[in-house]
Amino acid sequence: MDVSLLVAQSMSGLSRGMMLFLIASGLSLIFGVMNILNFAHASLWLVGAYFCYSFWHLMQNHGFGMWVSIPLAALVLAAIGWVIEVVLIRRVYERELPEQLLLTYAMVLILGDLIKLTWGVEDKIIVRPPLVDGPVFFYGIPFDSYFIFVISIGFFVAIGLWWFLKKTKYGHIVRAAVFSREMVSALGIPIPRIYTGVFVLGIFIAGLAGAVQAPVGSITLGMDMAIVVQAFCVVVIGGFGSLLGTLVGSIIVGEVYAFSILFWPQGALVLIFIVTAVILIVRPWGLFGTPMRV
């Protein structure tokens, strides 16, 4: 086994893990605080990717097209997230689990077709600016330079979220709400406002993740379906509501995927699901989740 191959695979796994982290962090946050499992999270991620494409397409003639499209798409998704929370999600907080799951599942179906209606069925490709379109060499091993970008974004989002949760007052409130909703509302802090904020934040990150994903390969319909189950696995393994857990979970899933490509290519997803199932059986709240939630 060639060292450079191992390094290349672990970088690939890291990059994949970071991508998963971007998607899963929002999912984990939303579930941790609001107890809503957002099946539509990956669908919104895909919408983010498509919006990024559209913005880029408009600005194609300018070199900075991609760089501007990414944050723009994320902001659009934040707005969409706000609308969804106010119009739909808000109505099911008090409801039973099946109804909540069905609502977000219905969103998956609706968004899937809306994407098809808006952007059509052909694959979309974004041409990357030369800065991130070409290999970067690390000890003679070529890496896609875009990987570096993805890993950095993931890193910044992780730091950003950490800083937000640990160092800001709002973040403290959110963390307290994960632990005990009753306490927070007993302290006079309006829970609905927190929920909206958290949901919007979660979707913003999902949109950002989608936009960051957009220039990788091509954007195709159905990408969300492939990724949503992996995102779920990440959150289960890492633990709902835990930032560190999501990070660790993403890297685990990313690396498992990257390495199983080497010796059991078809088994990648099987392996991931076995790990997920084992965690659910042995420690349902994940590696870093809060046990009381079970």
Binding site: N35, L37, L88, E99, Y105, L109, I110, D113, L280
Partner: protein
């Protein structure tokens, strides 16, 4: 039996209607009817876990798929007669449910839902990847119903016969002490432990029985569709009985079947003139979840209650109401 005749007199009409169906509609609708029956059976088996036990399984399609593949493989590879295949499907699905259910019943609520989802996906990927055995993504083709069942009409009557039998069996289970115990577990698992019931074991038994009937439904699907694919196990397929049950109403025995009629009929109708079926059903589900929480059955019961109480008022018959202070 009196319950059956008093409350469900309309069932007799439905059954007669079902018997004469092929004589009045074209083959297309007979196909739709077969699909309604198979998916309805699948949904009613799902409701044994959902409505009766109070847990949401988002991976029930795993047993449906296992049943489909059991029948499909036996028919295509070994030319085993269909009735035996169906029995084998039930056994295979039951064994799967026993193994997977053993772990699932240790959890409740959302963790139960996620674990069932994960197991469903696991089975999906296994079937997908095990090309040598299952033909993976290509699916299994050439599952031809034997002899006379080749015709849609006869297969319809065959399916009607089997599904009716299965429904009657599940009805009896529902009304039996076991069924009441499952509902007791749903209502108050704690209390049920304290009257001497090993709740976890009962949940597992219920899970296995539900899985077996899902396997039967899957077994019926293969010959109907002439081919099967791994998707029969994935979470989209698992979502179908959930929709049907929620649309029809989870608390009545026939809710899921009513849901199947509505869903399948709607699908046959809508896909006739648009490809945007997911959008349509997504909107329907959203509507039902937000505005019709008890499903169709819930709506009917509400209307019946209003109707009945108005009826009693006009008769001035207060003693019919149970005595509350």
């Amino acid at each position: 039996m009196e319950i059956l005749t008093k409350r469900y007199w309309w069932l007799g009409l439905v059954f007669i209607g079902a018997l004469v169906l092929p004589l009045v509609v074209g083959e297309f609708w007979v196909h739709v009817a077969i699909e309604i029956l198979i998916l309805g059976l699948f949904a009613v088996s799902f409701n044994m876990i959902f409505g009766n036990m109070g847990q949401l399984s988002f991976g029930h399609a795993a047993y449906y798929g296992v049943g489909a593949y059991a029948t499909g493989l036996l028919m295509v590879r070994a030319s085993v007669p269909l009735p035996i295949c169906l029995a084998a499907s039930m056994v295979a699905a039951g064994i799967c449910a026993l193994i997977l259910g053993y772990f699932c019943v240790r959890l409740t609520g959302i963790y139960f839902a996620i674990l069932t989802l994960a197991f469903g996906q696991l089975l999906y990927y296994i079937i997908f990847q095990w090309y040598s055995f299952t033909r993976g993504d290509d699916g299994l083709q050439g599952i031809i119903p034997p002899g006379a069942l080749f015709s849609a009409t006869y297969y319809y009557y065959f399916t009607l016969f089997i599904v009716t039998g299965a429904l009657i069996a599940m009805w009896y289970v529902n009304e039996s002490p076991f069924g009441y115990t499952m509902r007791a577990i749903r209502e108050n698992a704690d209390r049920t432990r304290f009257i001497g019931i090993n709740v976890r074991r009962y949940m597992l038994i219920n899970f296995v029985v539900a899985g077996m009937f899902a396997g039967l439904a899957g077994g019926l699907w293969g010959p109907f569709n002439r081919s099967i694919a791994p998707d029969l196990c994935n979470w989209h397929q698992s979502g179908i009985p959930v929709f049907m049950t929620v649309i029809g109403g989870p608390l009545g025995f026939f809710g899921p079947m009513i849901g199947s009629i509505i869903y399948t009929f709607l699908m046959a109708f809508v896909t006739g003139f648009t490809e945007y079926w997911p959008l349509t059903i997504g909107l329907v589900i959203m509507f039902v979840v937000l505005f019709l929480p008890g499903g169709v059955l819930g709506l009917v019961e509400q209307k019946m209650k209003v109707f009945r109480s108005r009826d009693l008022e006009t008769r001035g018959d207060r003693s019919a109401e149970t005595g509350s202070s």
